[in-house]
């Protein structure tokens, strides 16, 4: 075991996989000599050279389009989109091409590619360095969507994603890149996609979260414990495929569900989770399913701290639910 930040764990995972499998290549803006603007790819260029760690021109459709071509040819590309806010020029390549390749070719062609991209707010980045666009991609059949929240998961899920035979969008919660530290197994291991993690057990209510909202949910759960309410916290970890079983089991046990996410509330992925709970466990519920989320506005700059869900708002949602 080694103590690492989430960012170091990602770097460690990339290095390990590039060493293990020479088909793995990294490409993106500033990923080479500069080691990525967040330093996620630091040292890889020096270790593996310019054929495997490529600084690209400034064109996201070019990054993803060429990565798809590399994958079709037999490489295992791990392209980086510098901020998920800049992924949209590549939307067509991701949604129309990568995600549909296997299906439209009857399984002839596949795209084993893992797109890494930072998501979320908390860094005073305004509209274009703060968005959480997971729902756009979760709505695309053929694409897996993964969001780690701990260093161990970041490495294990990244390795599982790179080895996955299908395209994976690996979204990294940048707010907790450096301030989350944890024990990470050294060497090779994977955390399977499609398995949620029970962060904390509880009996009165279930908090479902992912990414940077997991520590917020944990903090709220701690506060609720002080209020005499026992809260279970789930980290979804993989949005697609979704571990419905773990969510439903927990909600059936607690009878109350609150989903916490940063993206605008309407049509965010929390809507899907709420629908699954309503469809499959409504008879177990003691009150309405609640969502604590971002607002249906573009991500603001000055008022960011009021936009992002925080432990106070989550705690209030649980209180309201307990009093329902």
């Amino acid at each position: 075991m080694a103590t690492m930040t989430l960012l170091q764990a990602i770097n460690d995972g990339l290095r390990l996989e590039m060493g293990r499998d020479d088909r793995v290549v990294v490409l993106g803006e500033d990923v080479g000599l500069n080691g990525g603007v967040f330093r996620a790819t630091q040292g890889l260029f020096e270790e593996f050279g310019g054929d495997r760690v490529m600084d690209t021109p400034l064109a996201e459709s070019g990054i993803i389009g060429t990565a798809i071509g590399m994958a079709l040819y037999g490489l295992v590309p791990v392209p980086e989109i510098q901020f998920s806010d800049f992924i949209y020029p590549a939307f067509d390549q991701i949604v129309s091409e990568a995600a549909k390749m296997r299906y439209r070719s009857g399984g002839e062609f596949t795209v084993p590619m893992t797109i890494r991209t930072p998501i979320g707010g908390g860094i005073r980045g305004g509209h274009y360095h703060s968005q959480s666009p997971e729902a756009y991609f979760a709505h695309t059949p053929g694409l897996k969507v993964v969001v780690p929240s701990t260093p161990e998961d970041a490495k294990g899920l990244l390795l599982a994603s790179i080895r996955d035979p299908d395209p994976v969008l690996f979204m990294e919660p940048k707010a907790i890149y450096r301030n989350t530290k944890g024990e990470v197994p050294e060497g090779d291991f994977t955390v399977p996609l499609g398995k949620a993690r029970i962060v904390r057990e509880g009996t009165d209510a279930t908090l479902v979260a992912w990414g940077a909202m997991v520590p917020v949910a944990e903090k709220a759960a701690e506060a609720c414990a002080g209020d005499g309410v026992s809260v279970e916290v789930l980290d979804v970890r993989s949005i697609i495929p979704l571990d419905e079983e773990t969510i439903l089991e927990s909600v059936k046990k607690t009878g109350r569900a609150v989903v916490v996410y940063e993206a605008p509330k309407s049509c965010g992925f929390g809507a899907e989770i709420s629908a699954v709970i309503a469809e499959k466990a409504i008879e177990y519920l003691e009150g309405p399913i609640a969502r604590v989320a971002g607002f249906d506005t573009p991500f603001p700059y000055t008022l960011e701290h009021m936009y992002l869900p925080d432990d106070g708002r989550v705690r209030q949602a649980i209180k309201d639910l307990m009093e329902f």
Partner: protein, 371 residues
């Protein structure tokens, strides 16, 4: 990139091979004052960020000649679609330090209501666009505005600014193509400062020059010494006159250098050498223009100090004014999503207000911007 460049003022301030444009003494002095004011604003802006008084800053140091010289060729009614590294255009068009600093502080007097990161200005009153972070997006919009002016038969030109990195964006190529097809009165200004964050220009394109790209889209491309404000003005004036006369678009490549880091969050010593910084330091566009002005009797050395002091005290007053203001009101977060709030937005605002009044909003931890 070795091809010839237009140059009016040589690096030592002496006349070079291109003929000087016709500009009056007042005009020359206005350009210089604006360049100096821009430099002061940028230096102060970076300091404010270092002191933790604003969250982010991005400087145009070294590119004053490029963006100010080109914008000076426009009429005030012409439209500008700029990028984040062109603050001098706003100063040239009469925007005050105070207006700009309110934006950098994202305070209640920010005309964009604290919605964007610092330096992402929006000043419709002087026909300057709302600046966007995603690279290249303004380029096609400028072409559209130029098309509209042409449809309306208005004698208006649109000028759009982008970096060397911006030429790799889809929107650059699409914009150039549309402008060529519709012969729209648009001037494309590529400020080739050699770098896109850490990516040098030879990692961006295999073209010998950025200007060469114009040919493929059926328009002239002109390569200019971007640190020579008179060469820039001259080339821009020709392009603007051409566009206004209905002869279509032009691509200008202004060869310049980003004299500082990409932004307050970048450390450029990771990827650029001291020698390179020194080499370009000697080509400083401000020093060069000052030498030219002094040589021609348009400016006296001593005037610099006087101007600098008056600019600095103006800046100081603007900062004090900006720091007096609080944040925009909480409810403003829900405005301007649409012209009118939807019922859903009203409901969300109600819920936030109640939570806030009850004291159940703690305000998440918001950290530093890393780029």
């Amino acid at each position: 990139m070795t091809s010839e460049m237009l140059q009016v003022i040589a690096e030592d301030g002496a006349p070079s091979h291109t003929e000087a444009p016709e500009l009056s003494r007042d005009q020359l002095r206005t350009i210089y004052r604006t360049m100096l004011a821009t430099r002061e604003l940028d230096e102060r802006g970076l300091k404010l960020q270092r002191q933790g008084r604003i969250g982010f800053y991005l400087s145009s140091k070294g590119q004053e000649a490029a963006h100010i010289g080109s914008a000076f060729a426009l009429n005030p009614e012409d439209w500008v679609f700029q990028s984040y590294r062109d603050p001098g255009i706003l100063l040239l068009r009469g925007i005050t330090f105070e207006e700009m600093l309110h934006q950098c502080y994202g305070n209640a007097k920010d005309n964009t209501r604290g919605r964007q990161m610092p330096v992402h200005y929006s000043f419709k009153k002087v026909n300057c666009n709302s600046i966007s972070s995603p690279i290249g997006t303004q380029i096609v919009q400028a072409v559209g505005a130029a098309m509209a002016a042409k449809i309306r038969k208005d004698p208006i030109v649109a000028m759009t600014y982008f970096g060397d990195g911006g030429t790799s964006s889809n929107d650059f190529h699409t914009g150039m193509n549309f402008a060529g097809v519709y012969a729209s009165p648009c001037v494309f200004v590529c400020e080739n400062n050699g770098w896109a964050i850490s990516c040098p220009v030879d990692g961006q394109t295999a073209s010998t020059t950025m200007a060469a790209k114009a040919e493929a889209y059926g328009m002239p491309g002109v390569r200019v010494d971007g640190n020579d404000v008179l060469a820039v003005y001259r080339a821009a004036k020709e392009a603007v006159d051409r566009a206004r006369a209905g002869k279509g678009p032009t691509l200008l490549e202004l060869v310049t250098f980003r004299m500082g880091a990409h932004s307050s969050s970048d450390d450029d010593s990771r990827y650029r050498s001291e020698e390179m910084m020194e080499l370009w330091g000697r080509k400083d566009p401000l020093a060069r223009f000052r030498q030219f002005l002094v040589r021609g009797g348009f400016w006296e050395e001593g005037e610099d100090e006087e101007l600098r002091q008056s600019v600095q005290s103006e800046l100081q007053a603007a900062i004090e004014a900006a720091e007096k203001e609080g944040p925009p009101p909480l409810s403003s977060m829900f405005d301007d999503v649409f012209e009118e709030r939807t019922a859903t937005l009203e409901e969300q605002w109600d819920a936030l207000r109640q939570a806030y009044e009850q004291g159940s909003v703690s305000g998440a931890n918001v950290g530093e911007f890393p780029l």
